[in-house]
């Protein structure tokens, strides 16, 4: 999106809008009744016991909260630089978020006792299962893409059947089907390989389209130029077409990897000891479910943030290379 050089007047400078915003927020707060909240406790000296302060206390607490929120928004709108605005809002949201978790009364001792195991066992398994799967999926995708572009009806049929099937079923179901289905035909399989197979097949189906688009975007002149020199199909593919489509394929593949990292949580259902599995099981004995779920959630979030950072770096690098 390209910003206009002339900006509209900031809404939060209009008294009418501020009044409107304030009343809406007040209404919302009034409906959800914040008299039991921290604000209610803070106001206790003035209003008395929040339980008994009735509709009057209820209203005052809502009013105070709304005023605080609107003032905060106003203050943010006065921050001059875009960057600082972003940082302040992020920090505020993060604090809100964490205090929300904090209010669950979590046992941090328990978290601390388990977090190392969650990282070494959980994150490690999540990462390696995803990494192996994305590599296999890429190979499947190359073959699938070539088959889908071929004039051979047999190859096209197989490839389109495959993509249709694996894109049409929920991943969770594929995980079950492979883990429970393969033993039915006499092939007993461990949980980890079953999970890897399910993820590879499913993502291979999605990535087939990515690879196909990447290959198709190469100018027909490259095929003709290579053929005119006497190159055979596999040589053209390996040396001329794929090297040129890789820069187009890598960014969306990175996105797929991030998505797979989260989808790999589905293989926890067959007992692969990855992050999600640990999150569900570690807290069971002592009823510390919330602790483990929140820790795992944070770990997933951090992992994807790091990967997104790497991903944007890679994307920028290839963009530069393209414009050379």
């Amino acid at each position: 999106m390209i910003q206009d050089t002339v900006t509209d007047e900031v809404l939060l400078r209009k008294p009418k809008f501020i009044a409107f915003l304030f009343s809406i927020i007040l209404l919302c707060f009034f409906i959800i009744d914040p008299s039991q909240s921290i604000m209610g406790e803070l106001l206790e000296p003035a209003l008395g016991d929040p339980e008994k302060s009735g509709i009057y206390g209820h209203f005052i607490t809502s009013f105070m909260l709304s005023a605080l929120l609107v003032l905060n928004l106003l203050a943010i709108s006065f921050i001059p630089r875009f960057r600082f605005q972003v940082i302040v809002v992020w920090v505020q949201l993060l604090i809100l978020f964490l205090s929300f978790f904090y209010s669950f009364d979590l046992s941090f001792v328990f978290i601390r006792s388990k977090i190392w195991f969650m990282i070494t066992q959980g994150i490690f398994t999540t990462l390696y299962v995803s990494a192996i799967s994305i590599v296999i999926a890429s190979f499947i995708a190359i073959i699938g893409a070539i088959a889908k572009m071929s004039s051979n009806g047999f190859a096209f049929a197989i490839a389109s059947f495959y993509t249709s099937f694996f894109r049409g079923l929920p991943l969770l179901m594929q995980v079950y089907l492979i883990y429970l289905g393969l033993p039915q035909i006499g092939y007993v399989i461990d949980a980890v390989p079953a999970g890897i197979i399910a993820l590879s097949l499913c993502y291979g189906a999605y990535m087939t389209e990515i690879f196909r688009a990447g290959i198709m975007s190469i100018d027909a002149g490259q095929w003709e130029g290579s053929r005119a020199l006497g190159f055979k199909f596999s040589l053209i593919m390996r040396k001329i077409i794929l090297p040129q489509s890789i820069p187009l394929i890598i960014p969306p593949t990175g996105n797929q990897f991030i998505a797979m990292l989260k989808d790999s949580s589905l293989v926890s259902v067959i007992g692969v000891w990855e992050l999600m599995f640990l999150a569900r099981t570690l807290g069971n004995k002592t009823f510390n479910h919330m602790e483990m779920l929140i820790t795992a959630a944070m770990l997933y979030w951090m992992m994807t943030m790091v990967l997104e950072l790497i991903q944007s770096r890679i994307e920028r690098k290839y963009q530069k290379r393209q414009s050379r």
Binding site: D219, G221, Q222, E224, G225, S226, R227, A228, L229, G230, F231, K232, L235, K239, I240, P243, Q244, R324
Partner: protein, 253 residues
């Protein structure tokens, strides 16, 4: 029967009663053409007359539906086994160069000899440099195509084809995508090549080049060969009205 002997006796390219369709549309009709070794042929004609289609049938970038196309003693058809060999002996230069953008100029030139003819890298390198010398851009060897001007890229494309030691060179409007000031450097390279005795078939609208270099000029319209003559007769004394009209249009400016 050795192929090499054959082409010194008969024509190196022989097209007989060839017809070519794109679905229902007939792009070429009853084409008959023999090209002898060392002969230089210029094909001209209005846009859409089938010039590109004709020369693309010669290395089977396009398939013909009836008649026969014989290149260097090999009959081209759908189920032939050695199309790659035929193609490696027929050089082709395109309007838009079709260089490989991810490879350096030198790699563009060595790829064919190394990958198709299994030439050792050092020999391929040496040969590529000698052809780059011949098209007068050895100093660009380690650059990428996008860093060169259009005229330089087209000369690289010519060198790349020559590295395969082709027996015939096909040119499809090699100068039409170039800025005017670059046309002559490419035409000079082609003239050079013609003087060295290369068999050439050029689709081009450069009538000056045709007059200077061609042994035979062929005029096409609506998928047919209308006229085929030596350049003097062709330009001084065109036979058909369509040729006259075409010549009046291209020679006016």
């Amino acid at each position: 029967m050795s192929e090499d002997n054959q082409n010194t006796i008969g024509p190196i390219i022989s097209i007989k009663d060839m017809n070519k369709f794109y679905d229902d549309f007939q792009a070429l009709t009853d084409i008959n053409l023999d090209v002898n070794v060392g002969e230089r042929i210029v094909i001209c004609g209005p846009s859409g007359s089938g010039k590109s289609t004709l020369i693309r049938c010669l290395n089977r970038l396009e398939a013909h539906q009836s008649g026969s196309v014989n290149v260097n003693g090999v009959e081209l058809h759908q189920h032939m086994k050695n199309i790659d060999k035929v193609r490696s002996e027929v050089g082709m230069v395109f309007q838009h160069f079709n260089l490989f953008p991810h490879m350096t100029i030198l790699e563009n030139c060595t790829a064919g000899p190394m990958w198709v003819n299994n030439m050792p890298p050092s020999d391929a390198h040496e040969m590529a440099m000698s052809y780059l010398n011949r098209v007068k851009i050895p100093e660009q060897a380690n650059k990428y195509p996008a860093q060169l001007s259009g005229g330089q890229q087209q000369r690289v494309a010519i060198a790349r084809s020559l590295c395969m030691n082709p027996k015939v060179m096909l040119f499809d409007e090699p100068t039409s995508a170039l800025d005017p000031e670059m046309v002559s450097e490419v035409l000079d390279t082609m003239t050079d090549l013609a003087e060295s005795g290369m068999t050439m078939i050029c689709v081009t609208h450069e009538m000056g080049f045709a007059k200077r270099v061609a042994d035979r000029v062929i005029f096409m319209d609506e998928g047919k060969i209308i006229e085929s003559n030596d350049p003097i007769a062709f330009f001084e004394n065109p036979q058909s009205d369509r040729t006259k009209k075409f010549l009046s249009q291209v020679l006016v400016h």
